[in-house]
């Protein structure tokens, strides 16, 4: 169902919620945002809970760093906290750390919701059609995305050549040294490819200053209105009760 929404509706909703989670310093609000977007992903996006948990690991690790930093290094003296508070868990440091941990998770969940809800190509088309994203940049983005599979193929070729030169079988995973040596050749490949793509586009009459028509521009429907109003209403309630 999420894919039926206009990508710009999802983008606007996600940005508003990210700003709200950045500004509101409350355990309840951050938890609410986390639960809301997790529910949207699980129910409307039909993602399995196991996959969702797996995708959230980097955000959890990121947030845990802020939790430990706050518990250990908040301005109030940690020793004083230990003496005068019944436990560290009741201290402002732990509470502040918990809020930042939840903020990292909530921000990650909203970002994940956005990534799972939109078709990237449709987003770029919608940006061109409704928000005047210059076609030159939009098509450059498409070209960059197209390059990625070829980068992987070129990286594989480079690894094969290295293995043949060294007279050894291809390793299953590249070593850090192999990865390091691949960086510049891959960039050189990408730059060459960009030059060729530019010539091809110009040869086909691609000009930034010409009016153009767009195919398959995502439209807005009643569903977008309902979705946007619902998320804004929930945000309003969250801000009132936070």
């Amino acid at each position: 169902m999420l894919k039926r929404l206009n990508p710009l509706t999802v983008l606007a909703a996600a940005l508003i919620w990210i700003v709200a989670t950045t500004l509101v310093f409350s355990v309840a609000f951050q938890s609410g945002a986390l639960i809301l977007f997790a529910a949207l992903i699980l129910v409307l996006g039909r993602i399995s809970p196991a996959r969702l948990l797996l995708l959230m690991i980097p955000f959890a690790l990121f947030g845990f760093g802020f939790f430990t930093t706050n518990v250990l290094f908040r301005q109030e003296n940690a020793e004083a906290v230990a003496v005068f508070s019944q436990s560290l868990a009741e201290s402002d440091a732990a509470r502040g750390g918990l809020i930042l941990f939840l903020r990292a998770l909530a921000g990650g969940m909203i970002s994940l919701f956005f990534a799972l809800s939109i078709e990237p190509v449709a987003l770029v088309r919608a940006l061109m059609a409704y928000l005047r994203l210059p076609p030159r940049i939009a098509y450059a983005l498409f070209a960059a995305v197209e390059v990625v599979p070829d980068l992987a193929a070129t990286a594989h070729q480079i690894r094969l050549v290295e293995a043949m030169r060294a007279g050894r079988p291809l390793r299953r995973f590249p070593t850090p040294g192999e990865l390091f040596r691949m960086v510049v050749p891959l960039m050189a490949f990408a730059v060459r490819r960009a030059g060729r793509t530019a010539i091809a586009m110009e040869a086909r009459g691609f000009r930034a200053d010409r009016p153009r028509t767009l195919l398959r521009v995502p439209g807005f429907s009643r569903l977008d209105l309902i979705f946007a109003l619902a998320l804004v209403a929930v945000l309003g309630l969250g801000l009132i009760f936070a």
Partner: protein
Amino acid sequence: MTSAWTLRETLIVAVLGAVFAALYMGWVQIWLIAQAIIGPLSMDVFMGFWFVASIVAAAIIRKPGAALGAEVLASAVELLLGSPGGLILVLSGLIQGAGAEAVFAATRWRNYSLPVLMAAGVGSAVFSFAYTWIRFDYGALAPGLLVAMFVLRSVSGALLGGFLGKVIAEVLYRTGVLQGLAIDRDKRTAALA
């Protein structure tokens, strides 16, 4: 020299963004391992590498907007490739790119020497520090730790962003693929002078 971008330059910045998007995703894994081993300061130590796209693009294209555009495009490519953190990365990319761009703007986009590139790395570090200050309530942390974090992030920006960016741009130049771009024109002019 016009400040308008050619299609080739736009595409080069975008595809470099794609390469750096892949490298950035790999760097996240290394940082997360470091985070588990050396703790909270690891982000500041590793942060500089996430600025390198803007430095390399600026060193090659040498036009207004190259640093900002490269960083935003790199994060946009991550978004288009379906990175879970894509949307937040675009916001971060915008802020980090603006930090580097501010330094190049201060030189009126005329100086791309190593010290300026390293200063651009520091510029990204300063802007990203301000962003994380707001987003993660740095004002509540102990002043000593804040100073350590700021210094580490600035040094990381100068070295992993500025210095490494310069090295990458120079090595890439030696492959010959940057012919006809501003870096090539400037080097030829300097050789003739």
